[in-house]
């Protein structure tokens, strides 16, 4: 695990942290459930992508790298479905999307 | 202050907090959540208090904790079933002694569970009615025509 790979991996992790922070800030700051869902799902998926990339680079064998990528794909599927279901449930309960006054 | 002592202290503190929650929380679900936190912190106490960092991790407490986790989820699952049943029968998720006087979430309990007298017509109180007229069970059963 040469130092160059370690540096690139650390940089990727930092980028991932930025995205996670953006997603969390979105959850805290946005006015209604739809915006919050939008923010957290998008930002966290991309953040996780960078994190997985960092892990793939530093993984000892191809099999483990493949497992990391599989984890990312399943996380994408489940978080997107969850976001969709929550948004649908909110809509059915009649929560009006936020409109700037 | 090795990491094992940190986790031991964290286990003791969250154990205390969970004891507070189990007693002071009014809705039974909240008591149940506190009980799960109590279980997790006792398991952490079991492993952290006996771990000796330079030595390899001891598998015996690990197996005990896995056994404990499964026992806790079984008891939690049953408690949830009882809470759902109590809400369905009495409309309140709070035990009678915790009910706030005239509070929003508390109502007077429904009919008591008397013995079904041989003489009186046995009133079908519990789920003997079965789900037929209440619609389809989300349990993956064959859809009724």
């Amino acid at each position: 695990m040469s130092t160059a790979v370690a540096i690139v991996a650390t940089a990727l992790v930092v980028v991932a942290l930025v995205f996670f922070a953006a997603g969390t800030a979105g959850v805290l700051r946005f006015p209604d459930v739809y915006n919050r869902l939008h923010a957290v799902t998008k930002a966290d998926n991309v953040g996780l992508g960078f994190l997985i990339l960092a892990l793939v680079i530093t993984s000892p064998s191809a099999l483990i790298a493949a497992k990391h990528i599989a984890i990312w794909i399943f996380a994408l599927i489940t978080s997107t479905t969850a976001c969709h279901l929550i948004a649908r449930a909110a809509l059915q309960r009649g929560i009006e999307p936020w409109r700037p006054r | 202050m090795s990491s094992v002592e940190i986790y031991g202290a964290a286990a003791a503190l969250s154990f205390g907090l969970a004891v507070y929650g189990a007693i002071a929380a009014r809705p039974v679900i909240h008591k149940l959540v506190s009980l799960n936190v109590m279980g997790a912190s006792v398991f952490l106490l079991l492993v952290a208090a006996s771990a000796r960092p330079p030595a390899a991790p001891d598998p015996v407490p690990h197996a005990m904790v896995i056994t404990g986790i499964v026992v806790t989820v079984a008891a939690t699952g049953y408690a949830v079933a009882l809470i759902r049943r109590m809400e369905w029968e009495r409309g309140s998720g709070v035990l009678p002694e915790d009910a706030a006087p005239g509070g929003a979430a508390s109502e007077q309990p429904g009919g008591g569970g008397r013995e079904r007298g041989e003489g009186g017509a046995p009133e079908a109180e519990n789920a003997a009615e079965g789900p037929t007229e209440e619609g389809r069970s989300p349990w993956p059963g064959p859809p009724r025509g």
Partner: protein, 340 residues
């Protein structure tokens, strides 16, 4: 390099410990039950990380799959809409659906009476203080049971020491634990609530995701079960993952086979108890004590017990989550022998 790493890891431990206690404090202090449940799921994930840090990878898997996953789903499931109240109460006009419209206006409960809270605080302080006192005096001499187990590992029937302890050294604990799970399902089904009126048909996206995720989850469960012999994994973690797939399938409205479905599920639920007792009787049949198996026989028996236990654990967790027995046959779904 080593000192910074241990320094950094120590910092990680402090952060994890503080966030663990912080989650527990926030969870206990909040009056909103929904918030407490979400905080508990975060607590479960934090706890899984702590188990990883303590070198207990099997326990980390179990905590993540069962502690945070299934228990979180159970607690959230407890707060969803209820079917219309029974004719008796409903007839009295108190139509009550305990349904939080959105987390914001979920019924927030007033805190308990001050006297109750003071008593709780005293009890909590006493217990925590006493445990902390004991922790400060714990000696550092005894090496635990690992050195005693090590010489027996070669003919114990599996390489992963935790699996050996779970299914051979302390197999009796695991047997009782499986009986507890079975008893929980029986008791939960005895207090069943009739089905919700009309679960809305699953959206296209949920159906598509289920078609992808359920087979993958079962595959992962099988992998965890198989790897359990040599590496962290095993029946309980695999059972929890497959139970997750089962619950997802139930949400997506997957149907049971038409006839005999309910009988099959009951057989699956009791299979682990009966097979474990049968494996236990293998020893006395050869003049050895109960639950005695070594070498080749141990490998075979441990594998059989693990496979059947995974099946029963997955069925039990889904059964407890559903909260009611599966309908027997289309014609006689309701009626008196619903439980019988």
């Amino acid at each position: 390099m080593a000192t910074e790493v241990t320094g950094a890891l120590l910092a990680l431990d402090v952060v994890l410990a503080v966030s663990l206690v912080g989650c527990a404090a926030a969870l206990v202090a909040t009056a909103d039950v929904f918030k407490a449940t979400v905080l508990f799921i975060v607590f479960g994930v934090m706890m899984a990380l702590v188990w990883g840090r303590l070198g207990a990878v099997d326990v980390a898997l179990a905590e993540a799959a069962i502690g945070a996953g299934i228990t979180g789903a159970l607690l959230l499931g407890a707060q969803t809409a209820q079917p219309a109240r029974r004719r008796g109460a409903a007839a009295r006009g108190r139509e009550h659906t305990f349904q939080p419209a959105t987390p914001d206006d979920a019924p927030v409960y007033q805190p308990a009476r001050p006297s109750r809270r003071v008593a709780a605080a005293l009890a909590a302080a006493a217990v925590a203080g006493v445990v902390l006192l004991a922790l400060s005096r714990v000696p550092t001499r005894h090496p635990g049971l690992a050195p005693i187990l090590a010489p027996h590992m070669p003919d114990a029937g599996a390489e992963n020491p935790v699996t050996v302890v779970l299914l051979s050294v302390r197999a009796y604990d695991t047997l009782l634990e499986i009986v507890v799970l079975l008893a929980a399902v029986i008791a939960a089904w005895a207090s069943a609530v009739p089905a919700a009126p009309k679960p809305e048909p699953p959206g296209a996206l949920l159906a598509a995701a289920t078609r992808v995720m359920v087979p993958v989850a079962v595959l992962i469960g099988g992998y965890l079960l198989w790897r359990g012999a040599a590496a962290p994994g095993g029946a309980f973690q695999a059972g929890a993952v497959i139970a997750g797939a089962g619950i997802l399938a139930a949400f997506a409205g997957v149907e049971l086979p038409r006839r005999g479905g309910a009988g099959l599920i009951r057989a699956g639920l009791v299979a682990a108890t009966l097979v474990f007792l049968g494996a236990g009787a293998y020893g006395p049949a050869r003049g050895e004590p109960f639950l005695h198996y070594r070498g080749g026989a141990a490998e075979g028996l441990i594998l059989v017990i693990e496979v059947v236990a995974t099946l029963s654990i997955a069925l039990s967790l889904v059964g407890v989550f559903m909260g009611r027995p599966p309908p027997r046959t289309p014609e006689r779904t309701g009626g008196d022998d619903e439980f019988g």
